[in-house]
């Protein structure tokens, strides 16, 4: 081969490298380009923080922070500047009310379904039910909102005759239904990952399947199960279209589920569909509300991550 002309292998490698210099440029450029794409996600987070903080600061230069956290009325569209009140607790109470109702619906049904799927169901049933739960999780929230408005609310009005058309109960229940698949699926994953040796040990000692599920499997998987609750609740806090369609737009400091309410998210929708002109205090208020919402969900997500890391049992 080329050796005959007196070249050593070393020379050949050098020659090849020289030929491939354009290739080596690619080798150097690609990681840099890919790093830039990875930085987009960091920029997104920075963008969110920047956006929320800058506009919120402008908002608080116009509305005192004390008013924001102490007043219980939210009247940004009142006529006359002196009548406008920005008390976030009216929106927070609406959000928490819906979230509470959703939790009461989603936790028992989600956990029950997860226990059934991981401990009782045969492989065949699991293979059929899990994809159907995935379908439920993939339904757009606007469809759930429509369902709440046109089916659940009229149904509830038959049970509670003086229930107003817009109320906290109907969207609360439907948000709960929306997060059932999430809780069921994540809890099922957590419980299914408890090793079978533990199940067999408990059954050999004479435990029934119910005792096995409640006294052995559930405690063993508790970190994953609780983390799924927290993630579900966080999703409920940030849910928008269901509460916008069925909850109404009447910011109300109340914990009565039969009243018309407004949540943080539905206020943002209301204000951005044309009620708030650019540069007005109302315009900046959607960022202050968005900031509050962001802080709530961020805390919940960090809590979920902490729980699943801190209390994880290793087998």
């Amino acid at each position: 081969m080329a050796m005959s002309s007196g070249q050593s292998i070393r020379d050949l490698i050098k020659e090849k490298k020289a030929k491939n210099s354009s290739g080596r440029l690619v080798e150097k450029a690609v990681p840099v380009i890919l790093l830039l794409t990875a930085i987009v996600s960091v920029l997104t987070t920075l963008g969110i923080l920047y956006t929320l903080i800058v506009e919120t600061v402008i908002f608080f230069s116009q509305v005192p922070f004390i008013e924001f956290i102490t007043k219980t009325e939210w009247l940004p569209f009142a006529s006359g500047d002196e009548n406008k009140v920005y008390g976030i607790s009216a929106l927070v109470s609406g959000t928490l009310l819906v979230t509470l109702i959703a939790t009461i619906v989603a936790v028992p049904f989600g956990l029950g379904a997860a226990i059934y799927l991981s401990e009782y169901a045969s492989d065949r049933v699991r293979r059929i039910v899990k994809p159907i739960l995935e379908i439920l999780a993939g339904i757009p929230t606007i469809v759930y909102g429509f369902f709440a408005l046109t089916f659940v609310t009229p149904l509830l009005q038959k049970l509670i005759p003086d229930l107003p058309f817009f109320n906290a109960l109907s969207p609360g229940i439907v948000v709960g239904i929306m997060i059932i698949p999430m809780i069921a699926s994540l809890s099922d994953d957590a419980m299914s990952s408890v090793p079978n040796a533990i199940r067999e040990g408990a059954l050999a000692l004479g435990a029934t399947k119910f005792e096995l599920a409640i006294k052995i499997i559930l405690p063993a998987a508790i970190s994953g199960v609780v983390a799924s609750f927290v993630l579900g609740i966080s999703r409920a806090i940030g849910e928008t279209m269901i509460v916008t369609l069925a909850g109404g737009s009447n910011p109300n400091f109340t914990f009565n589920p039969t009243e018309t309410i407004q949540t943080m998210t539905s206020y943002i929708v209301q204000a951005s569909t044309g009620d708030a002109g650019f540069g007005t205090t109302q315009y900046y208020s959607i960022y202050a509300v968005g900031m509050t919402l962001f802080v709530f969900t961020l805390l919940m997500n960090i809590l979920a991550q902490y729980i699943s890391r801190r209390f994880r049992e290793e087998y």
Binding site: L35, V143, S272
Partner: protein, 292 residues
């Protein structure tokens, strides 16, 4: 030797066995609840929207008269927005995943990016709307356009695509890479010609599911400023527009029940699109699922 007395066991265990049966049915009911709700939801929407489904519904623009209203502008608008979202989200999502899996060193910065992505996945979609409104609509002066909406949606689904792509790339066995290096291929050649083709079915499956989420997403686009009354087709990326979920929201939030039926018809179309996308994802997963 005294054998176990069956009757005594029954007597002692009886209550526990009954408990077991009772709770088994309770857990079964909890599981069936979701399925029943899904059934009712589907049935309601199909019976309600069925009569409005016609060729006219597809060919007409939004109108104040329910019988003349159609979904054409919203349908085409959705296609335009997805036309921006899909390439942007794929390029940045898959790029991030390749970087994290193949190039990144296991250091603090990598962990920071990783943590950042999982936190972004938990940010409510409406907050992404605020981001889009400030950065794309106002700061970059794109206006309330298809481009601004497409970018916003791309950022929203980016975390999902990154995580799905990462899992898929991680599942490519090390031997394939080593064989490629052994043949003298460089790192990028290995990634481009060996790792990516092997990982593509998984990447596509995860991405299509993310896109189907974007098709149904409403809240961020309302904030970015998609209009509900659009009586024209978009003529470019900077054109104003509407999308199907916003058209449905607009119809559903009106008091007249005729508009509710229109909303149901729109939801049926939305469902058909989502089912097609999900079916494609499942087909890809089934056709290419290879184990090494």
């Amino acid at each position: 030797m005294k054998l176990v007395d069956q009757a005594q066991v029954e007597k002692k265990m009886g209550r526990r066995l009954i408990n077991n049966q009772v709770f088994k049915s309770i857990f079964l009911i909890a599981t069936l609840f979701s399925l029943v709700v899904l059934g009712i939801l589907m049935y309601r929407i199909f019976t309600q929207g069925y009569e409005f489904l016609s060729a006219d519904f597809f060919n007409n623009f939004a109108s104040r008269r329910p019988s003349n209203a159609g979904i054409k502008a919203a349908f085409i608008g959705t296609l335009w927005v997805m036309g921006v979202t899909i390439p942007v989200a794929l390029i940045f999502g898959v790029g991030t995943a390749i970087y994290l899996e193949e190039y990144a060193k296991k250091n603090k910065f990598t962990r920071f990016i990783q943590m950042n992505i999982s936190n972004l996945a938990g940010v409510p979609s409406i907050v992404f709307g605020l981001l889009g409104l400030t950065i794309f609509v106002r700061y970059f002066e794109l206006g309330r356009s298809i481009l601004a909406a497409g970018f916003t949606m791309a950022l929203l689904i980016l975390p999902v695509i990154v995580v799905a792509s990462q899992e898929s790339i991680r599942a490519v066995p090390g031997q394939l890479r080593e064989a490629s290096f052994g043949m003298g291929a460089t790192k990028w050649q290995t990634i481009y010609r060996v790792v990516l083709p092997t990982a593509i079915p998984g990447i596509l499956t995860g991405s299509i599911l993310a896109f189907s989420r974007a098709v149904g997403e409403t809240a961020p686009l309302i904030v970015v400023g998609a209009f509900a009354y659009v009586n024209y087709l978009p003529d470019g990326l900077l054109s104003t527009f509407t999308v199907m979920p916003i058209q449905i929201y607009n119809w559903a939030s009106r008091p007249q029940t005729d508009f509710h039926d229109l909303a149901a018809a729109g939801i049926i179309i939305l469902f058909i699109i989502l089912i097609v996308m999900n079916t494609v994802a499942v087909l890809i997963r089934n056709k290419f699922s290879k184990r090494y």
